[in-house]
């Protein structure tokens, strides 16, 4: 487990250094998007229309925050289940997206596309929304405001804690973890 501090946006040089299981702190700009925003972005790509932000080199965070209380930058903001977005992810990676933050594993197609396009899937700790929100210093809606919690927001984050789940070399943290910690003798007993 290597600990790394990374300044965004991501480049080939940065992602080449990242390996499944690395403990990473991200500082810079990331964008939020969930199911509804993904559907609209994919429609835009299919119609050859511009995306609401230039995805090249950028990181998308799968999050739908709680409403901010007065004076707060953002409400609680932890990751949502990534697998639901699997169907939309390859097209965005092909468009140049370089990193994703979510929770839980990815399907084989996404894992393969991450390798092909030299992009990384990070996990943040699901259910740690209060803690993660403290690393978000600015938040502004940049597209699809009508989607409410699912609108696309531009976030400025500082030392945002994530773990590399899928790296550009094809390694998968969830598979590695299970292989290392599984107790077959108990399961067969």
């Amino acid at each position: 487990m290597t600990e790394l501090k990374i300044a965004l946006p991501l480049t080939d040089e940065i992602v080449e250094k990242l390996h499944a299981g690395d403990d990473v702190h991200l500082t810079g700009v990331i964008y939020t998007a969930r199911d509804a925003a993904h559907r609209r972005m994919i429609e835009a790509l299919e119609k050859s229309q511009p995306l609401p932000f230039d995805v090249r080199g950028q990181v998308i965070y799968y999050v739908g925050p709680t409403p901010p209380k007065p004076g707060q930058v953002i409400g609680s903001a932890g990751p949502t289940t990534a697998m639901r977005l699997d169907r939309y992810t390859p097209a965005l990676l092909a468009a140049g997206l370089k990193g994703i933050i979510g929770k839980g594993g990815r399907g084989p197609a996404v894992r393969q596309t991450l390798q092909e396009h030299k992009a990384v899937y990070f996990i943040a700790v699901g259910g740690a929304g209060a803690l993660l929100s403290r690393h978000i210093k600015k938040a502004e809606v940049v597209a699809y405001e009508d989607l409410g919690t699912e609108a696309i927001r531009r976030l400025v984050v500082e030392n945002f804690p994530v773990i590399v789940c899928n790296d550009i070399y094809g390694a998968d943290l969830l598979e590695q973890g299970k292989a290392q910690w599984r107790r077959t003798e108990v399961l067969q007993g």
Partner: protein, 284 residues
């Protein structure tokens, strides 16, 4: 003749509103203790880091009254209504619906409920309607439990009807398969609720009720309690660990609830609860 005790719908509404807000921000002590114990026993360095974040999150949420998780869930409300209670001042279900709407709006909690579920999926904006389960019990009290249930873990629920002879072995395989296939999606370490028996809908409701038991409190029936321990040991032997990064702590507890069933049947339901096992209750 027994006299009836009157409980006002307005009081129920206010209580439900308060419970929704408290549940979203304050992690119950039994869950915290189970997480701390897991942190002490965990061997994987990465899993320990994840558990540290989960514990720190609970502190921050409690101190600042922030939602523990951005998914403040479907408001699942369990009511035990004493048969000597007379409800006055309005419709019970309307009072609960209003209480949930008020609690989620005033508490800045996320509205996550969509109506027209198979088509337009329009957000109802105040997290209503809740899902309400009522039971009539002896006495003159009203017991209200609010369980905000996140989508990530609820989506991993599974149900099957086995052949009666499949017994413990079949149930064990089904529970292990359910937990393993769900991976990091339900936010492990989870509480595994298992409902066994009754008819199809009984089993799922039992599984849901099982996750409302205090974490680690064994079933009163010795045979069931023993099965809970066997299952917990096996679930943790899967090696998924917190957030499925690998480790010893995949589940904090396995809770089983049972009901007699038809001679041809063995219904089994699994309902997973995330580590942010939010639950608040009040007795009126």
């Amino acid at each position: 003749m027994t006299s009836l005790r009157e409980i006002d719908a307005g009081q129920i509404q206010q209580t439900v509103a308060r419970l929704c807000q408290e549940a979203a921000t304050l992690l119950p002590d039994d869950v915290l203790q189970a997480l701390r114990k897991a942190r002490e026993k965990e061997e994987s360095p990465l899993a320990r880091k994840v558990l540290d974040q989960i514990l720190r999150n609970a502190e921050l949420a409690g101190e600042n009254l922030l939602p523990l998780c951005q998914d403040t869930g479907t408001a699942v409300v369990f009511l035990e209504i004493g048969q000597d209670v007379h409800l006055i001042g309005g419709d019970l279900h309307e009072a609960i619906r209003r209480g949930v709407g008020q609690g989620y709006t005033d508490g800045y909690l996320r509205a996550s409920i969509a109506e027209r579920p198979f088509s337009a999926r329009i957000n109802t904006k105040d997290n209503t309607p809740p899902v309400v389960h009522t039971e009539i019990v002896p006495g003159d009290k009203l017991h209200i439990k609010v369980l905000p249930k996140g989508g990530g873990c609820e989506n991993m629920s599974r149900f099957t009807i086995m052949l009666p002879g499949e017994g413990k072995k079949g149930i064990t395989d089904f529970v292990l398969r359910t937990v393993e296939e769900s991976g990091g999606n339900p936010c492990p370490p989870v509480i595994v609720g298992v409902g066994i028996g009754g008819t199809a809908e009984t089993a799922m409701l039992l599984a849901k009720k099982a996750i409302t038991r205090r974490v680690g409190q064994p079933h009163v029936d010795a045979e069931t309690a023993e099965f809970e321990q066997e299952l917990l040991e096996k679930v943790n032997a899967l090696g998924l660990g917190p957030q499925a990064v690998g480790g010893r702590t995949t589940a904090l507890a396995v809770h089983i609830e049972t009901y007699p069933t038809h001679i041809t049947s063995l219904p089994v339901a699994v309902n997973l609860q995330c580590h942010s096992a939010r639950l608040k209750e009040a007795v009126l």
